[in-house]
Symmetry: C2
Subunit: 400 residues, 2 copies
């Protein structure tokens, strides 16, 4: 018989969101009339803006006409979309040829494992978006270094204490913490990768949420980054395309392996062999999102979610909890100083609000909760009222 | 520095379609007024049928409304789509829980490599769709057995001569040959996999083209197949979704690894970790394609392409060439008995028709050409006129 892939057996069960759903269901069975508000999952909830929705609609309609029909496109993506990303999001710092359109970052993270193979060592932030680690384990990678990100280091890892790894995954604005690395920190990170001859995989899925003009929106604002960094981008959180599926990965032509061969050439081969391009409809929607009207609409949508984030952040600051995120990110990371799952239960039962236990993102997340801004303004306001009432009443005083 | 993944270096350059394009360009430079007709690439060319296009359009439009908006869906696909595939395409032989929606078979073939890992041995048909082999090599699989499919064995491999492998890839109706295995052959194949405790990966991307009612449209029509077979399905060639991106993979709950663990459980984990669901627009389009109107439209589109296939087949039969395919498949596989690239040049220069050299699909394809039916009826008719004239004039007499 066929043996089970031993790497699959090494994966821990993906228990976080299933466990949250289980507990929600149990609560709703006992309290069928409860009106839960979910600030749990990082999933967009608001309808697409008009012009962007219209672009998608036109693309879909066009497929029924001889002029608008298209079959397989280039696996690397439609040239117009690649050019528009280069121009609008990278100010042509990056050549459109180095931009590969995907059906989302999560999928490209999976394909990155095929690119690098099973022998590479990696470093990830802790707490961390679980997909970097899980896909690496699936691939058989053995050496995983966790870079602690906590209040003690202001949520930026102490690079001087880190061993060299082949790959460094770094997400900023961060999921789950909402912390955003500033220019000086990103310069450190690029230098560190250069000195170690590592490849930095920079996850910029939330870059559109950066409001502070001094914070770089892409790693390529740091000089020399194009020699060492791959960047992941996504329309999910900037255009509300979580369901539509559209993202991209930048693999600069300057990036080389030890033998002098181009990383980009192998990536191109991976993409051409294991992928068939993002949906033509989604790509045309992305082109619409990147014209003048679409850019304004994305900024508008992002502002709406950031308004929610600000409301949540202000609440916890007011109540005296240590808080990070929520200013340049759609996540607010709150230190409750108590076991995360206890806080989860308390908020669920006491305020009918669902948040995500920080411990689900790694050991360094214990004691924290992640609040997501991806809800309507109305629900967020209602959640704030309930949380204020509940937390004040139970006198859960913050640890400072 | 980071070492190049050694498996990537083992891949041969994907030269077939780039080489075809290079030769086309060279010809057009010398003959700028030539009107080439491409019967080369297996890519749909005709606009989507009305109701299916309308389903996609409605889905896209709906995303701009509170009622129609959706974010992340289940990675496994929308329940309604899974249920409709189970009902309409499998007559509920397969449970909808065992059907995993994807953004296309090519992408799922890549993910199958992650599922099985680097230690499995595989068998593939020769000639063969290159993606099975290329993705296996990327993953580091070493043992690849080629199952000769030629006129001598009527394009069905002599299983008695084959060694055991962990996986057997089998595509029917076949790309590139257009040959379709009959019930008795599929029964042999299932028995062979059972005896060897192999897993069969059955690629049924072209099953909608099967017109002969005695030929099974899915491997699960063969009793016991659900204990040993994974099946790949696709909307690309049945609904014209090559650009829209929608497919599925069936992993039956009965399929087990040697240690008794469920293959389906690991597949579910792969899909949840490296994938985020097919586009919600594509999925709603797929649901539309599988209602009564949509099914009739798909049948209509398939009939159109099969009409082209029949015209091409009839031509080569008339001219005395040995031919397979074109009756239950959109490909016509013609034995010219001369080096494939010589025939390619002759057809390009003499008839301004582009076909695909059979040798590009493996050693057993040398001497053959693949003609694709994915064009308009008008272009196909024109190609038939030109081919008849050219082949008669040059007296390229068929080998029998």
């Amino acid at each position: 018989m066929v043996s089970r892939n031993p790497h699959m057996a090494k994966l821990k069960a993906g228990y976080l969101f299933p466990e949250i759903n289980k507990r929600k269901r149990a609560f709703l069975e006992k309290n069928p009339d409860a009106k839960l508000i979910s600030l749990g999952i990082g999933d967009t909830t608001q309808p697409l803006e008009k012009h962007i929705a219209y672009s998608l609609t036109q693309a879909a309609f066009g497929l029924g006409t001889p002029e608008g029909y298209s079959g397989y496109g280039p696996e690397q993506g439609q040239p117009v979309l690649r050019e528009r990303i280069a121009e609008k999001l990278y100010r042509n710092r990056i050549h459109s040829d180095d931009i590969f359109i995907s059906d989302g970052s999560k999928c490209d993270i999976g394909r990155l494992q095929l690119l690098f193979g099973s022998e590479v060592s990696i470093a990830v932030q802790d707490p961390v978006y679980p997909v970097y680690v899980d896909t690496s384990i699936m691939m058989g990678q053995q050496e995983i270094i966790y870079m602690n990100c906590s209040p003690e280091n202001n949520f930026f890892p102490d690079l001087s204490k880190l061993p060299r790894t082949d790959l460094i995954y770094f997400c900023s604005p961060n999921n789950p913490t909402g912390a955003t690395a500033n220019r000086a920190q990103l310069e450190q990170l690029v230098s560190f990768a250069k000195e170690n001859k590592s490849i930095l995989i920079f996850d910029a899925a939330y870059s559109m949420y950066i409001q502070d003009p001094t914070i770089p929106k892409t790693i390529y604002e740091i000089p020399g980054a194009d020699e060492i960094a791959i960047e992941l981008g996504s329309f999910s959180k900037m255009a509300g395309f979580t369901g539509v599926r559209l993202g991209w990965t930048v693999v600069p032509a300057k990036l080389e392996f030890e033998d002098g061969s181009l990383v980009k050439r192998d990536w191109d081969r991976i993409v051409s062999t294991c992928f068939n391009g993002a949906s033509n409809i989604s790509q045309i929607g992305g082109i619409g999102a990147l014209d003048e009207l679409g850019m304004a609409e994305m900024q508008n949508m992002v502002s709406g979610y950031l308004w929610n984030a600000r409301k949540l952040r202000d609440l916890f600051v007011e109540l005296g909890y240590p808080v990070v995120g929520g200013d340049n990110a759609p996540y607010v990371w709150v230190n409750f100083g108590e076991p995360s799952w206890d806080v989860f239960e308390s908020l669920l039962c006491g305020a009918q609000v669902v948040a995500t236990p920080g411990s689900g993102f790694g050991g360094a997340g214990e004691g924290f909760m992640r609040f997501s801004a991806f809800n309507s303004a109305k629900n967020t306001e209602e959640a704030v009222v309930r949380l204020r009432k509940h937390l004040t009443a139970t006198k859960e005083v913050a640890r400072v």
